[in-house]
C-alpha cells in the first residue's frame, strides 16, 4: 500500500474534531473527556488524527512537503487508536489508524527517519529485541524453571514472553510465577528461550514494515516447528501483532493466540486454578490499547467502497479484550474494582506505544501521568494493567511523583491471590 491508496480516507475527513474526544455519550467530566495524548499535549490540530490525515492529503496533493518538522509531528503519537475508535463511532468510510501507519511508512521510505527509532531498529536487527539487550540473555528469566524448551521438544502451548517481559527485571518474578503456575497446573507448555525473537509489531509501527515481515516469518516458522496448537503471551503488543498484524501481512499463525489473561481465565473456569487468597485492595483497571481496541482480530480486506462496508468488517475496537481481565479481578477475594472514566475501547493510552517511549520519553511519561491522575481520582490504591509496556511507563511516571499508588500487572495480582508469589516478591505487590 502507499499513501495514495488512502486518499479516499483522508478526503473523507470532515474535520469535525470528534477524534480528539472520547465518544460523547461517555463524557462524564471536563477533566477526562479527551482521548488523544498528542493533541492534548501539543494542541496544534496537526497532532490530532484529523490533522495527520489532512497533512497526509496536503502532501499527497502537492500542497506541502514532508520535512523534519512534519515527520516529528507524525511520530509524536502512540498509535493508540483512540482517534480511530472515536472517528468510527460516526464514520464507516475512514480507517484513520491505517492512514497513521501509512504516514510512518511514507516517512521511512522518503528517508525522514527518527534517529532514536533508527537506533532501536539497528539494535533489533542485531539482538532480536526492542530493548537492545543481548539476545543470548533473552531466556535467562526462565533459568531453573521446569519448563520445556521448544528447540528440544514439541509442546501443546507455546509461551511467548515478549521483549519487555524477557528483560525487565521488575517483572521477572511475575513472569516466572506465571510459567510455574502453568507447569504446576499440568499444562504442556514450552518456551523458545534465547531463540525467541521480537514479534516485529513495534518495528511495523515505527514504519519499518519490511523488518516486521521478517520477524513474522521467523515467528511463523518457530510456531510451526514447536508443534503447539496454542500460543500464549503476556505482551499486549505481541497479542495484537499475532492476531491482527500477521494476518494483515498474510502471515497468519496456524494456532490459536491468547493473551495470558484469557488463558488464566480459561484455567479458572475449568477449575484448574483457584484464587483463594484475599487481596484487600481497591484497584482500577487500565485497558492496554493493544489488548483492547487495537487487539481486535484482523477482519480481512474490504475491496468495495468503504461506505458499503458492513459493521462486521469495520475495526471499531468493540471486540478487544475488555471483560476477561475484569472477570479475573472480580474473582479475587476481598478486592474491590472501581472504574476510571475512560475505559474499554475509549481508554486513555499509557503513553509507551508507537515509538514514543523510545523517541519522546517525556511525552510518554506525561501521558502516563495523566492516566495516573485518572486512576487516583477513583480512590483506588492500585492501578492494574495487562501489558508490560504500560507497566514500565506507569512505574516510571509514578517514580517522578509523590503519589501513593501501586502499579501491578494482572498476572501479579493473579499470582498473589493464587498464592504462588508473596506480595513482597512482586514489584507491584510490595510496599512502595
Amino acid at each position: 500500500m502507499a499513501l495514495e491508496d488512502y486518499k479516499n480516507d483522508m478526503e473523507g475527513c470532515s474535520r469535525c474534531s470528534s477524534c480528539k474526544w472520547i465518544p460523547f455519550n461517555q463524557v462524564k467530566s471536563w477533566r477526562f473527556a479527551h482521548n488523544c495524548p498528542a493533541i492534548s499535549r501539543y494542541n496544534l490540530h496537526a497532532y490530532s488524527g484529523s490533522g495527520k490525515m489532512i497533512m497526509g492529503l496536503s502532501m499527497l496533493t502537492g500542497r506541502s512537503e514532508l520535512n523534519e518538522s512534519i515527520m516529528d509531528i507524525i511520530f509524536t503519537c502512540q498509535l493508540c487508536g483512540a482517534c480511530d475508535t472515536a472517528c468510527k463511532v460516526y464514520r464507516d468510510d475512514i480507517d484513520l489508524m491505517d492512514v497513521l501507519l501509512e504516514l510512518r511508512t511514507h516517512c521511512v521510505e522518503e528517508g525522514e527517519l527518527v534517529i532514536e527509532h533508527m537506533a532501536t531498529i539497528d539494535a533489533l536487527k542485531r539482538e532480536n529485541n526492542m530493548l537492545g539487550e543481548k539476545k543470548e540473555a533473552r531466556g535467562d528469566w526462565a533459568d531453573g524453571l521446569p519448563v520445556k524448551d521448544i528447540n528440544q521438544e514439541t509442546v501443546d502451548v507455546l509461551f511467548h514472553a515478549g521483549c519487555r517481559y524477557s528483560y525487565d527485571q521488575d517483572s521477572r518474578e511475575a513472569l516466572r510465577g506465571i510459567v510455574k503456575l502453568l507447569v504446576d497446573s499440568g499444562v504442556d507448555v514450552g518456551i523458545a528461550g534465547a531463540s525467541e525473537t521480537c514479534c516485529g509489531g513495534r518495528a511495523y509501527k515505527f514504519g519499518y514494515q519490511g523488518e516486521a515481515e521478517n520477524y513474522a516469518d521467523d515467528m511463523l516458522s518457530r510456531v510451526k516447528s514447536s508443534g503447539a496448537s496454542l500460543l500464549v503471551t503476556p505482551c499486549a503488543d505481541g497479542y495484537s501483532a499475532f492476531n491482527y498484524l500477521y494476518p494483515r501481512m498474510k502471515k497468519e499463525l496456524p494456532v490459536e493466540v491468547l493473551h495470558i489473561s484469557q488463558y488464566l481465565e480459561r484455567l479458572l473456569k475449568n477449575g484448574e486454578i483457584n484464587l483463594k487468597n484475599n487481596v484487600p485492595r481497591k484497584v482500577t483497571y487500565h485497558d492496554p490499547c493493544y489488548l483492547g481496541r487495537m487487539g481486535e482480530p484482523y477482519l480481512g480486506d474490504w475491496q468495495d467502497s468503504k461506505l458499503l462496508r458492513p459493521m462486521s468488517m469495520k475495526r471499531a475496537g468493540r471486540n478487544g479484550v475488555y471483560d476477561t481481565p475484569r472477570d479475573i479481578i472480580k474473582q479475587i477475594p476481598a478486592l474491590e474494582l472501581v472504574e476510571m472514566e475512560r475505559i474499554r475501547e475509549y481508554s486513555w493510552c499509557c503513553g509507551a506505544g508507537g515509538g514514543v517511549w523510545e523517541a519522546y520519553p517525556d511525552f510518554a511519561v506525561w501521558t502516563a501521568s495523566e492516566r495516573i491522575e485518572e486512576a487516583l481520582s477513583t480512590g483506588a490504591d492500585t492501578l492494574v494493567t495487562s501489558c508490560p509496556w504500560c507497566l514500565r511507563v506507569f512505574r516510571e511516571a509514578l517514580a517522578e511523583t509523590e503519589k501513593d499508588l501501586r502499579i501491578m500487572d494482572i498476572s501479579e495480582l493473579f499470582l498473589e491471590s493464587a498464592g504462588i508469589c508473596s506480595p513482597a516478591t512482586l514489584k507491584g505487590g510490595g510496599a512502595l
Partner: protein
C-alpha cells in the same frame, strides 16, 4: 508568507511551541469540507497559526496582527467552513489552550466558560449540579461559547432551552484593536448573571441572528445560561452510539408521534407549544433515523418502492418530543397532554422508553445530541441550504419545498438519495417560533455531487422568494451582495458595525460582512436570470 519579525513576536507572547507557519500544519486549518460548496474543499491557508493561552495573550497577539497588517480569525473545534480564513494574510487563532470552565453558578444557573469547552464537557459538569446546557444541532463537540457569541445556535432542546443567542449572559470580548470589552453584568463589575446589564448590552451587535462568525474580534470568556436538569447526576450509559444502553430515569418519556397529514402535524405541534411542555422536540423524517442507524440497509430500501412509500409517505409526518418532569405528577401530566393532543389530531404515538434495546439507545443520543453526526454515515458529508427563523407553519412549507428541490437533484444524481424529505427542524421556546433548514447528503469523493453543490443555496433562495417567503440567511460572502437588497440592505449595517469596532482591516470579516461579485451563471444560467428578475421585482 508571514515575516520573521511577526512570527517572532507571536512566539515571545505564546511560546514557540504554540506558533507554526509550516505549510502542512497550516493546511490542517484550511481543509474545511463541511458546508463548503467549493469542490476543492480547501479554504485560504492561514499565514500562521497561534494558540493563545489567556485573554492577555489574545490581546497581545491581536496587537501584533494590527502592527504587521495581518488579519486574524479565531476558531475552536473548527468544524465547518466558517471556521477557516476567508482571504489571504490571515492568522488563525486556535483557541484550544483556553479550555476551562471558569465557574458554574448553581444558584443563579449559569456557567462561565472559555472558548474550547465543548458542549459535552459543560453538560457533564452541569448535570452533576442538576443543571443542563443547550447543545446545538451540530453536536456536543461544538463550543458553547462559539455558538453563543458567534454563530447560529439551534438544536433539539430549543423548545426548553431556547437557542444560543438567547442564552449568552456576560461576555469578555477582545476587540479587533486589542482592547478588552465586557458586555452584560461583568461590564459593571458584577457577577456574570445578565447579558443586558447593568453594564453595556450589545447583544444585537454582538451577534444578531446568525453571528459575526469571527468577524468581530475574539470572545475569550462568556456566561451561558443553564437550565433545570431533573435527571440523575450522570446518565449511566454502556456503549458508544447505536449500541448505547442508558439507564432510563423514571421522569423521562420519549414520544415518536405520527400524524396523518401535514396540517394535523402543524396544528398538534402548536397545541403542544401552547401547553408549555417538552424538553426536546424536533420534526425529523423516519428515513433520516434509518440512514443514520443503518446506511447500508437504507440504500437497499431506497430501491424498494413499498418500503420507500412507507417511510416517505405513510410515516412521513413524524414528530419527536422528549418529556422530562421534575416530579412523577409532572411527567404524568406532560405524558397525558401529549397523548391527548396526538389523539385529538388523529395521530398515534409510540412511547419508546419502555421498548427493549431501542428505548435505552435514545436518552444520551438525544440529550447530548450525540446522534447528530451519524448523518455522516450515508455519504460522508452533507451541506445545508441554511435557514431562518419563522413560524412553524411556514417552516413546514419550507420543508416541503426542500423536499421538492432535493428530489429533483436526487433524480439527476447530484446528491445522495435520502428519499427526499430531510429537514432539520426545531421549536424555539414552546413553539413561539421555529427553525428549518434543508439538508443535502453527498459524497465528497463523487465528482458529480461536487459539481452542482454551489447552486443549492441560490436555488433555495429563489424558490423562497417565488413563494413569498423570506430569503435564507447565509454566511457566504459570495451571495451577500445578492442577498443584501432582498433583506433590507442588512449588510450595509453589518459593515457599519464592523467599522465602528475597528474590525475592517484587522479581523477576518469574510463570513460577516465582506462582499464579492459572484457569477451564478457559472453554475446554472437560469438561476442568474431568475434571481435578477426577483431582485428587480422586489425593488
Amino acid at each position: 508568507m508571514i515575516s520573521d519579525e511577526a512570527l517572532g513576536a507571536f512566539q515571545v507572547i505564546v511560546g514557540e511551541e504554540n506558533v507554526s507557519r509550516e505549510p502542512a500544519v497550516l493546511d490542517t486549518y484550511a481543509w474545511q469540507p463541511t458546508i463548503n460548496d467549493d469542490p476543492a474543499k480547501w479554504v485560504y491557508r492561514p499565514v500562521a497559526v497561534v494558540l493563545p493561552g489567556s485573554t492577555a495573550e489574545v490581546q497581545e497577539v491581536v496587537k501584533v496582527c494590527n502592527k504587521h497588517g495581518l488579519k486574524f480569525k479565531a476558531t475552536t473545534t473548527g468544524w465547518g467552513v466558517y471556521s477557516g480564513p476567508t482571504s489571504d494574510n490571515v492568522v488563525q487563532f486556535d483557541m484550544r489552550r483556553m479550555n476551562k470552565i471558569i465557574e458554574i453558578d448553581e444558584k443563579n444557573m449559569y456557567a462561565v466558560v472559555e472558548p474550547y469547552v465543548t458542549g459535552a464537557q459543560l453538560q457533564a459538569e452541569a448535570m452533576k449540579l442538576g443543571l443542563n446546557t443547550h447543545i446545538i444541532g451540530a453536536g456536543p463537540v461544538c463550543s458553547p461559547l462559539a455558538s453563543a457569541t458567534s454563530g447560529w445556535g439551534v438544536g433539539w432542546d430549543c423548545i426548553y432551552m431556547s437557542y444560543s443567542a438567547r442564552n449568552v449572559l456576560g461576555v469578555e470580548w477582545v476587540l479587533p484593536d486589542g482592547e478588552l470589552l465586557y458586555l452584560g453584568t461583568p461590564g459593571s463589575g458584577s457577577e456574570w448573571f445578565c447579558g443586558d446589564g447593568p453594564g453595556p448590552s450589545l447583544r444585537g451587535i454582538l451577534r444578531g441572528t446568525s453571528g459575526a462568525l469571527g468577524g468581530h474580534g475574539v470572545f475569550t470568556r462568556c456566561a451561558i445560561k443553564l437550565f433545570n436538569w431533573p435527571g440523575p447526576s450522570e446518565l449511566h450509559t454502556e456503549g458508544l452510539l447505536l449500541d448505547a444502553q442508558s439507564e432510563i430515569p423514571e421522569n423521562i418519556r420519549f414520544h415518536m408521534c405520527f400524524f396523518p397529514d401535514r396540517d394535523k402535524l402543524a396544528d398538534a405541534v402548536y397545541e403542544i407549544g401552547d401547553a408549555e411542555i417538552g424538553y426536546l422536540a424536533t420534526r425529523v423524517s423516519p428515513n433520516v433515523f434509518l440512514y443514520g442507524a443503518t446506511p447500508r440497509l437504507f440504500r437497499k430500501l431506497t430501491r424498494t418502492s413499498a418500503l420507500r412509500s412507507l417511510l416517505s409517505e405513510t410515516l412521513k409526518w413524524m414528530f419527536v418530543i422528549v418529556l422530562m418532569g421534575s416530579s412523577r405528577e409532572e411527567i404524568e401530566y406532560q405524558d397525558a397532554v401529549v397523548k391527548k393532543i396526538v389523539g385529538d389530531y388523529k395521530g398515534f404515538s409510540l412511547e419508546m422508553t419502555e421498548v427493549p434495546v431501542i428505548g435505552p439507545i435514545l436518552p444520551m443520543n438525544f440529550l447530548r445530541v450525540s446522534a447528530i453526526p451519524a448523518i455522516f454515515r450515508l455519504g460522508g458529508l452533507f451541506t445545508t441550504a441554511l435557514g431562518r427563523n419563522e413560524t412553524w407553519d411556514t417552516q413546514l412549507d419550507w420543508a416541503e419545498v426542500g423536499e421538492e428541490l432535493r428530489k429533483r437533484r436526487i433524480e439527476q444524481g447530484e446528491v445522495l438519495d435520502d428519499m427526499g424529505d430531510n429537514p432539520f427542524m426545531a421549536l424555539y421556546e414552546n413553539n413561539t417560533w421555529s427553525h428549518c433548514e434543508n439538508i443535502y447528503q453527498y459524497d465528497t469523493r463523487n465528482e458529480k455531487h461536487l459539481e452542482k453543490l454551489h447552486t443549492i443555496f441560490a436555488e433555495s433562495t429563489i424558490r423562497a422568494m417565488e413563494i413569498c417567503q423570506e430569503p435564507l440567511s447565509s454566511f457566504d460572502w459570495r451571495v451577500r451582495k445578492i442577498l443584501g437588497p432582498l433583506l433590507y440592505d442588512y449588510n450595509y449595517w453589518q459593515k457599519q458595525i464592523a467599522q465602528s469596532f475597528g474590525a475592517e482591516g484587522a479581523a477576518d470579516t469574510g463570513m460577516y460582512c465582506d462582499e464579492v461579485d459572484y457569477d451564478l451563471s457559472a453554475g446554472d444560467p437560469q438561476l442568474k436570470e431568475k434571481l435578477e428578475k426577483i431582485i428587480a421585482e422586489k425593488k
